[in-house]
Symmetry: C2
Subunit: 494 residues, 2 copies
Amino acid sequence: MESKEFIDREIDAIMQKAWGAFRIYSKYTHKEKKAFLYAIADELENSGDELIKTCMAETNLPEARLKNEKGRTIFQLRSYADHCENGTWLDARIDTAISDRVPPKPDIRKMNVPLGPVVVFGPSNFPFAYSTAGGDTASALAAGCPVVVKAHSGHLKTSEMVSDIIKKAAGRMKMPEGIFSHVYFPSHYVGEALVKHPYTKAVGFTGSVEVGTLLLKWGNECKDPIPVFAEMGSVNPVFLMPGKIKESAVETAKMYAASITLGVGQFCTNPGIIIGTEGRDLDIFLSSLGEEIRKIAPAKMLHKKIAASFTNLLERILLEKGVSVLAVSEMEKCDICGIPTIATVSSEEFLKNPKLHEEIFGPYSLVVQCKSVDEYSLIARYMEGQLTCTMMATADDMKMHGDLIEDIKLLCGRFIVNGVPTGVEVCLSMQHGGPFPATTDGRFSSVGGDAIKRFVRPLAFQNWPDEMLPDELKNENPLNIYRTINNALTRDKV
Amino acid sequence: MESKEFIDREIDAIMQKAWGAFRIYSKYTHKEKKAFLYAIADELENSGDELIKTCMAETNLPEARLKNEKGRTIFQLRSYADHCENGTWLDARIDTAISDRVPPKPDIRKMNVPLGPVVVFGPSNFPFAYSTAGGDTASALAAGCPVVVKAHSGHLKTSEMVSDIIKKAAGRMKMPEGIFSHVYFPSHYVGEALVKHPYTKAVGFTGSVEVGTLLLKWGNECKDPIPVFAEMGSVNPVFLMPGKIKESAVETAKMYAASITLGVGQFCTNPGIIIGTEGRDLDIFLSSLGEEIRKIAPAKMLHKKIAASFTNLLERILLEKGVSVLAVSEMEKCDICGIPTIATVSSEEFLKNPKLHEEIFGPYSLVVQCKSVDEYSLIARYMEGQLTCTMMATADDMKMHGDLIEDIKLLCGRFIVNGVPTGVEVCLSMQHGGPFPATTDGRFSSVGGDAIKRFVRPLAFQNWPDEMLPDELKNENPLNIYRTINNALTRDKV
């Protein structure tokens, strides 16, 4: 293990370079930043089979899934590049002078500017889309911030290969040295040194509540506290409303059996809690869900540790008072596998036992059986912040339960009706970020074009000569972006 | 002094009411919220002389200033109400479904929703504009959040009278009970109990670094950490560029003598540090500044404590190595007065002594004399985050010092050219918030329509039936607001 002094020195050298790059890169035009992101996307698209093979070996994820995830990563890079150029994230505001007012009103103009170097910690479960060239990296680069990625120990070789791809693109596009760095040292202290370096201006993280809250603590301990955007997962409660479940218990059960086991349940949007009302319709749902789950084959999880953790947590949760197993996969087991499992518990026991609310990362869901739908609000109010909540409901269900809908809104960042929470669309309207502890800051999204907004702050220019203003704020509007001029949104010149 | 248990009980009762009000108020239309803010503004406008007289007695501020500040407060209430209605702060986004994509793309829509009850701590120096019915209260109410104000001990009676005005407006507009509460208890623990109550969802504060960082610490200690927006002041460095000072040393000196002593220097935007280059032009500036300052009469500060603190800090700072007095007011002294004072120091001593960078709240400025303009960047890089920075510069000065301009941009939230930092315009382009420790979160502004954004978070609606969506996101766009539909900003229907 390296000494703290050695690590401090190495990290300082990396952050000095990142800061140097920031001073140059923050002045690049949006077109130039877009071209860089497209270059990374192109290099990634043209990368050979070796990358996918390496990643398969490191993560146990199947080829089709990884190819898909690589495609998503390429799409993200291009999508955030497009947003970078069209200026959605700039929030340009102009108020023109009124010289004959008493006192005279000055000319003031405001836009978002990049924060500075961003340190990214990726998760184990998305070796491409939320790792080295993933959403955090893409949105930070789009904002004008250099990126330092700490490689995830679960896919070091993949991370290094992707890092090489980014560096190749950076070289080709003549980016400043330090625009992207990749840190390998497998030491816990490296994370702390990275977060607390004075040139680190923000942190992006996807992973566990334990690590996320530690990063948040480090961020708050900085001499100048920095924002830490940690996406820490969720149990994504699903509320089965009586009308809907009467209509389509079997269809819903099939849909959820697939969602619960998608990617061996290794998604932060995995539906971990399903809330239903006792009775004939729920019985049909449960019986159908059980039938489906028994037919779904266990599959390899990302790592031995993750599989062991899933098995241990599951064993323990099934021993909790009132919890009983509904169904377990009856298909062939394999080494380091996640075995699809559904358990049930009464709402009474659920409300008494906070352990039952915790995320179990893997293909598992707990069905909470209520005496009546009136208990749903109690449950919603009792739960912690969530990335998503879902309501399976007819129009009448929704109309009859307006208060419950309001309770659920308070609980989550994304509220789905008649769908599944897995599958996080990359688009501007996506909100991937919910109240704590789903994320450290539910005011921001780590997916979609608005992810760029995590890495900027507003800067106002008062009484500047037009020629010295950034292009975004010049009278002529040379970038042809939307700006709010004297309270009216427009693409007009001043 | 009340016991902690008593305070906890009282605060809990207040926050329970605020939460109850939130559940109702968050569903009000923007028109209704606007009408409420206008009603407060109207009541304040119609309030009698008694309010101004009470405030004069409590704060030593002169009548004209307080009438002006009351006017500003009324303007803020109406301005944020208008922004509330026009939806600048909603960031509505719509991505429509593509059902024949593989996999199908769902319909997703997103908008900002209110966080919940906001606790406001006002400052001593703005008994109206940043206190009980001030900017934090107005922007929180505009966002849809109930407000709990902890009265400032420096103007308790004024605060109570303004609270009554708000309550009268709330009654007239039939607002839910708990929409606004006013807390008097003069206990330190009250602040902590308010911040840490689980129904408190954000904090607005204006005041000292000491109290602001304490509130931030409490906010981070909450079970679910909450945002704390503390505006903690600044020394607002002014960079005198050679070309400009050659052109207009005397004019600049006069302008700054007025700015330094405005409101007895009791503004967070008071120019506390002026950076110049030794030579004949700076000598003219200094001589003229000294002449002006000697003629400006000392005036009563807000409170005995503030005056004593100013005198003590000033005495101490003038004993620091290399600091010499340039000028002190020669006009008649008075009790609890702030005496206008200018000191000078060499850049060499300034860069060695962090004490010289600290804010001294009152009519005082320190002129830092550099050997050449090349030292300005050193100074800019050495200083802490600022609300504002100012450059007195000709067009040529700006063109010749692009790197310095970039250094200054990194330092502040608002960058003024050829003006003074005092006078914070209430408009959408205003950024009143700079890097730490000027504020706890330089990504937000406490002045202007964007102040509303401090108290909201995005919520995404996936696959919702149109009739159940909030009006902001319905196909028909009944509120006629701007929305970004499939990446294009528009007021069109879907």
